[in-house]
Amino acid sequence: MADSLFKIFRGDRNSGELVEYKVPIAPGMVVLDALHYIQAHQAPDLAVRWNCKAGKCGSCSAEVNGRPRLTCKTRVDALPLTAPITVKPMRTFPVIKDLVTDVSWNYRVNRKIPPFTPAPDTEWKMFQRDIDRVQEFRKCIECFLCQNVCHVLRDHEKKEQFGGPRFYVRIAGLDMHPLDSLSRTKLLNEDLGIGLCNITKCCTEVCPEDIHITDNAIIPLKERVVDDYYDPVRWFLRKIRKQ
């Protein structure tokens, strides 16, 4: 069986380097398989986050040959075998060790978002056509790849002013829920800085769940923010329609 050469980031918060490992390639192998092989045979302390290995939990995000990917869904045979395969941690988050990053900031942002809040006298009837869009948002597996590529976070470090695509998707899922009664536009505009997004669609490109983050979540939310802030009539109309 042919070997493939991997160059994997080994290091911590302070320093690190790419270390080479040779891995025998099996049919259908994914990058996460290779990382496990390296752990079992060459580097038992290689730090990797993973859980389901089936693309459902969003734990094993990394940058493979410079592209943000779930390593459990990245086939080795889809990568050029002429050059070494590089695997690095997500750049937007601080490294803890090797491929494991500190993503706790995301959990702090999530806490800021007011939960689903139905009106007190809600009748629990919903139709599929009314929830299709929201179900798309709820597919999110929180791999944080969208956060990782968003240049507002990646290049401009605006974590304190910006929520990031993951949480715009989450808010869209709440605000567009047919039985939710809150508006979260103030939060979006003032605390989570949705105005900083200039819709380059990098997030949509890397989403392993194929969520149309920009078109279906961010743009409609931006429109709601504009409406609420600059068009009082529409703000009032939506308010009464929701209740």
């Binding site: 259908g28 192998m29 859980n51 089936a54 459902k56 803890i96 060790k97």
Partner: protein
């Protein structure tokens, strides 16, 4: 207690943040308790996230004849009557309310034309009963509970592994563990401790389970003196992926068959007609898993040693809408388009029916202060679990466990934690760093997986089980001499060394219980005892620790009241 350790104190400590742990946390908070949830992974990544098919609840939105007695009867028939009747009754009665509650917390299930929660068919369920969201129901469940819990104020301790329960006399009063990130130690003090750590599938080579499923909770409880029950009943899901090698074992949801998928062998024969002509492809999991295994063994398997599962007779758009993750999984990992051709599938270790013995009403274990809930607990599913009955189990008994744990926390007085016990726990967990040489945890794990796969698999016999037990004991000796390289900073080899200990404990309990039960029932198939035995049908196996030895005994299955018996006899 010594100030040397980072210490957190709560009324209720919950170990595990899957559906059961989170539902318990929400309930305990609702009772006014302070609640800590500790989990090995990041929040929201627990195994519940992988549940695909749905939540079983007799809501009768699609089949109006459905009701709790029918669900109760299906569950007992599926479990071959070894189930705890009271758990099965509570489960069938309470699960519709638990699903409605989830919807009121923001979960969005697929809908019927009338705007109700849609329900689908599943193996062993008489009616269309599984409330679902495509094939990602578990994600919906965990996200809903997670967000609700966060906003109610659970203290979540992520990427923290518990290695020992701490006791004051007979009572469990806390737990000791380490942060995966930096290897530092932490002590949790609590008035009630709820174990919700899930299953043990990582002890087998072919499994649908994630790395976390190493039997931690069962081993913690066993070490603290709790009883393990029904350990011989390990569910092999009939349909895991078989090709390519790296994906072997990944789950192919039963919803494929629920939506009309058909199993065939390499000759194109619908072989289920020979194993269960009435229920066919939607027979119970134990039956379908054995059928596929037998087809392969007898030379009628597919190219890569499985059966064909085909849903391509349904419109492609329908398949993509109802089974989106299956569509992507096969397209991306196996180069198969399931809308145009069949999948190759075979059995994969999936679920543990056995576990910690608990009281049906309260989820209390036999150890004061200790509760257990979800897959880690035994009783509801008997000898075989029906698909969809796990998510409902998490919700129904998660709520009950949280309630009882909080109520107990109000009753108990102050306790002390013995610092000598903490130091012992610390010494044990650090020992692998100090050995100049020793065994690799990865090698021992691989050997354990081969052992369980080969000797404690779908079909069992005395000779294999005895070989398995002696092999497990040999590996236990090796595990006591395991060596770890590197530092305490996020070190997977070190983490595995510790998880191995739990896996070996539960593996031994499984093999011993399987050797003892001299009959075939549900998921436990003995080639040397192929039939039901009436005596064994009235006994649950119980494993308990006595002087560092595993002791087995039989516990009579609780007698069912007459009115429930009459439900079983109907139809």
């Amino acid at each position: 207690m010594t100030a040397k350790y980072e210490t957190h104190e709560h009324d209720v400590l919950i170990i595990g943040a899957g559906g059961a742990g989170l539902r318990a946390a929400i309930e305990a908070l609702g009772q006014g308790a302070s609640v800590a949830v500790v989990c090995k992974s990041l929040l929201g990544k627990a195994h519940t996230v992988m549940a695909e098919g749905g939540i079983a609840a007799a809501m009768a939105n699609v089949d109006q004849a459905d009701d709790w007695p029918t669900h109760f009867r299906d569950t007992l028939r599926g479990g071959k009557f070894l189930n705890n009747w009271r758990m099965a009754q509570l489960h069938a009665q309470e699960s519709p309310e638990r699903v409605r509650e989830l919807e009121q917390w923001g979960a969005l299930f697929d809908r019927t034309d009338a705007g109700e929660i849609l329900q689908r068919a599943f193996g062993g369920h008489t009616f269309k009963r599984l409330c679902h969201v495509g094939d990602r129901t578990g994600l919906e469940l965990i996200r809903t509970l997670q967000d609700r819990g966060i906003h109610l104020g659970i203290d979540v301790f992520m990427e923290c592994a518990i290695t020992r329960l701490l006791k004051d006399g007979d009572r469990v009063v806390g737990a000791f563990g380490y942060w995966r990130e930096n290897g530092r130690f932490v002590v949790f003090k609590a008035k009630s401790v709820v174990i919700a750590t899930g299953g043990i599938g990582k002890a087998w080579r072919i499994t649908s389970n994630s790395w976390e499923y190493t039997g931690d909770g069962m081993a913690l409880a066993y070490d603290a003196g709790a009883e393990l029950m029904d350990m011989e009943f390990v569910q092999f899901h009939p349909t895991g992926m078989v090709w390519p090698p790296g994906v072997q074992g990944i789950l192919v949801t039963e919803a494929v068959r629920g939506e009309g998928g058909i199993l065939t062998n390499k000759d194109g024969e619908r072989f289920m007609a020979r194993y269960d002509p009435e229920k066919m492809d939607l027979s119970t999991r134990d039956v379908v898993a054995r059928a596929i295994y037998t087809e392969v063994r007898e030379g009628r398997g597919t190219e890569h040693g499985g059966a064909y599962l085909d849903i391509s007779h349904k419109p492609a758009e329908y398949v993509k809408r109802k089974l989106p993750s299956m569509y992507h999984q096969f397209r991306e990992l196996a180069d198969v388009d399931i809308t145009t051709g069949p999948m190759e599938v075979g059995p994969t270790c999936h679920y543990m029916m056995g576990g910690i013995r608990v009281d049906a009403e309260t989820s209390q274990t036999t150890v004061p202060g200790l509760f257990a809930v979800g897959e880690v607990a035994a009783g509801l599913h008997g000898a075989n679990r029906l698909g969809g009955n796990s998510l409902s189990d998490l919700l129904v008994f998660g709520r009950r466990a949280g309630l009882s744990a909080a109520q107990q926390a109000r009753r108990v007085g102050p306790s002390t934690i013995d610092s000598a016990e903490i130091e012992e726990a610390e010494g044990e967990i650090l020992a692998p760093f100090e050995r100049p040489d020793g065994f690799s945890p990865y090698e021992i794990h691989q050997q354990l997986q081969e052992t369980m796969q080969n000797y404690v698999g779908i079909f069992r016999n005395e000779e294999d089980l005895k070989k398995g037990i002696s092999e497990i004991r040999r590996l236990k000796d090796h595990a006591a001499q395991v060596r770890v390289e590197g530092s305490r900073l996020f070190n997977p080899g070190w983490h595995l060394a510790r998880d191995l200990k739990a896996m070996l404990t539960v593996s031994e309990a499984v093999a011993l219980s399987a050797l003892e039960r001299k009959e075939s029932r549900g998921a436990h198939s003995r080639i040397d005892y192929p039939d039901y035995d009436e005596m064994w049908g009235r006994q649950n196996s119980v494993v308990v620790r006595a002087m560092d030895e595993m002791k087995l005994r039989q516990q009579p299955v609780p007698e069912m009241p007459a009115e429930l018996k009459s439900i079983l006899e109907a139809k």
